[in-house]
């Protein structure tokens, strides 16, 4: 027998009842896999929701004229002469900026009409800020040609209009007067969100500015930064640069419900993880108790030849620790092997994706495992295994192993 007596003994005891150890081991492996997979999916889903919203136009930072967000009036515009875009593009960390003319309006075809948000954008700048150009399924994105419009499939269906058809757009100018103009559908898009597809249309900013007599003014500056985490610090930088005439908001300010949902799902993960942990503890208590009661005579012999109660206690905890550690390692390896390919290919949930699409998530989820979860699993799982062995170990000592050898 080699150096460490306790480790050796614990190790051999584990191999003694292979089936039972396998049961404990696999429940730990399943626990580890469940914890990490759940984390991966939840993160994947929520990040994707956020990512999609950012890509659909929310961007990382938005600038408006003060008062605009409370009252989205056309007259709350930013004057083009201010050259804000050029100033902001100079800030380190800013990747792209797009000026958007935004208004609420009515589109109609020969058959029907619908209320929508119209975005007038510079197609070159907007391509770098939002992903709409990549979502075109039929036709083309804005090219700068006169009176093009890009609409979602859902809206096109509702209007009973298709590629190349004309639609009429009606909207108020800053003074409240209604203007209308004819646009030709140049492209149809489909995003992850059916709500978005129904209610947003895109035209060239020149056309919208002309129609509403806005000159070169616009309503929204959408900014993409190099790293989402830079958004908060850039926000205050921009704010002090542009002054109090403008509102500067990050995606966290703009999408509070989504951000809250993400935080909430993080918290609910804790509850799920705790339940998994508790289930594991009880499973381990159960099995360890069985092995302890079975071996009570043997413990009596151990103690008769001078094994102390402390050593006996440690032996039982050590057995659980070894199983816990092995389970954690095997669980991590297995989960990693399954998980890593999926994090590239994504997992297709289209079989129940209706719900996901309306949530603003795609049907394919790319799991994202946070390193905190992995670290915590590595630390907590063996601890849980040991915690589950404490009661059986106390029991082993309480059962007075020496008394167990009296009869026979």
């Amino acid at each position: 027998m080699t150096k460490n007596l306790l480790i050796n003994l614990a190790w051999r005891n584990i191999w003694r009842n292979k089936r039972r150890s396998a049961v404990v081991l696999s429940s730990i492996i399943v626990g580890v896999a469940a914890t990490i997979s759940m984390d991966g999916l939840t993160n994947g889903m929520t990040y994707q929701m956020l990512f999609n919203q950012i890509n659909l136009g929310t961007s990382h930072i938005q600038i408006h004229k003060t008062g605009y967000t409370d009252n989205r009036l056309v007259k709350n515009f930013i004057q083009g002469e201010l050259q804000l875009k050029a100033d902001i593009l100079r800030l380190p960390g800013v990747k792209a900026v797009s000026e958007r003319v935004v208004t609420f309006g009515l589109v109609s075809s020969a058959e029907s009409s619908a209320g929508i948000y119209v975005y007038g954008v510079d197609h070159k700048a907007e391509k770098r800020v939002s992903a709409i150009s990549g979502l075109i399924k039929e036709g083309n994105y804005l090219s700068g040609a006169e009176r093009e419009v890009v609409v979602g499939y859902e809206l096109a269906n509702k209007l009973n209009a298709g590629l190349g058809n004309k639609i009429i757009l009606m909207a108020n100018d800053p003074s409240g007067k209604i203007h209308s103009d004819v646009f030709r559908i140049s492209g149809l898009f489909e995003s992850f969100s059916s709500g978005f597809d129904k209610s947003y249309i895109f035209v060239n900013s020149d056309d919208l500015q002309n129609m509403l007599g806005l000159g070169n003014s616009y309503h929204e500056l959408a900014i993409i930064v190099a790293e989402p985490s830079l958004a908060e610090s850039l926000k205050s930088e921009i704010r002090s640069a542009v002054g109090s005439d403008f509102e500067v908001k990050t995606y966290r300010d703009i999408l509070p419900i989504l951000v809250m949902q993400i935080d909430l799902s993080r918290e609910s993960m804790w509850i799920v993880n705790m339940i998994i942990g508790i289930a594991l503890v009880f499973g381990i208590i159960n099995v360890m108790l069985m092995t302890v009661i079975e071996r009570i005579r043997e413990f009596g012999v151990l103690m008769a030849i001078g094994f102390s109660t402390g050593k006996l206690f440690s032996l039982i905890l050590l057995e659980a620790l070894i199983i816990g550690l092995s389970g954690t390692i095997i669980g991590l390896v297995i989960t990693g092997l399954i998980h890593i390919p999926f994090s590239y290919t994504g997992i297709d949930f289209s079989w129940f994706s209706e719900g996901l699409v309306s949530l603003g998530v795609g049907a394919v989820i790319y799991p994202v495992v946070s390193y905190q979860t992995v670290l915590l699993t590595i630390i907590m799982t063996p601890m849980i295994a040991v915690a589950g062995a404490i009661y059986p170990a106390i029991k082993a000592i309480r059962l007075q192993p020496v008394a167990a050898i009296r009869h026979y």
Binding site: M1, L5, M303, G306, S308
Partner: protein, 227 residues
């Protein structure tokens, strides 16, 4: 030299709803080199007495002195140290740790004592040789016969040179010839190495070898014979 002395030992088991007086007023002394047998019918209190003398259990009243020191004053840790350093135990059956080979079972208490590996090996091999079971060194208990297991148990009990070996009916599960062989070995240990043995048994083979024979009946000493 006195090793164990008991004074007015009483043991009453109270864990059942009818208390059982297992021992009553036991006074005895075990001296260095003794070959003592506690005999008596089943239920007379032999195991209870041996467990008390081996510090595995506590008396209801009375005192036990081990090499002059009152063991009731010792802590749990000291008692476990006492068992490790000074006592050897042989039980009726299931003496060995199933996951350890014969030699590991013997080495075990030497490891607990922190003896260096080379010395452990040497002492354990010597003990195996003394009992004529060197070839069993690497066998696990479930690969050995009952008699072989008991020999390993004897080897383990004597390997750390204890003050006294307590053997509770060591031959009860063995056939006559095997039991007799085992007893011969212990006789030999007693004579050549002056190892002290305290047996409990109702096996005539054991009783006839006793040099001090204590007869127990209903928890009381009925007679003491010295041969």
């Amino acid at each position: 030299m006195e090793i164990i002395r008991s004074e007015n030992l009483d043991k009453i088991y109270k864990d059942n709803w009818v208390p059982v007086q297992a021992l009553k007023n036991i006074n005895l002394t075990v001296k260095k080199g003794d070959y003592m047998v506690i005999a008596g019918p089943s239920g007379s209190g032999k195991t209870t007495l041996l467990n008390l003398l081996g510090a595995l259990d506590k008396p209801t009243s009375g005192k036990i002195f081990f090499e002059g020191a009152d063991i009731s004053k010792k802590t749990v840790k000291e008692l476990s140290g006492l068992r490790l350093n000074k006592l050897g135990f042989i039980f009726q059956a299931y003496n060995l740790i199933p996951v350890l080979s014969a030699i590991e079972n013997i080495e075990f208490s030497l490891m607990l004592l922190g003896k260096p590996e080379a010395l452990r090996r040497k002492l354990s091999l010597n003990a195996l040789r003394d009992l004529g079971i060197e070839e069993l060194a690497n066998k696990r208990p479930n690969e050995m016969s009952g008699g072989q297991q008991q020999r390993v148990a004897v080897a383990r009990a004597i390997v750390n040179d204890p003050s006294v070996v307590l053997a509770d009916e060591p031959t009860a599960n063995l056939d006559t010839a095997t039991g007799s062989n085992l007893l011969d070995l212990m006789d030999e240990m007693n004579r050549s190495k002056n190892i002290t043995f305290l047996f409990s048994s109702h096996d005539p083979q054991v009783i006839e070898r006793a040099r001090i024979l204590i007869r127990l009946r209903d928890g009381q000493i009925e007679s003491v014979q010295t041969k």
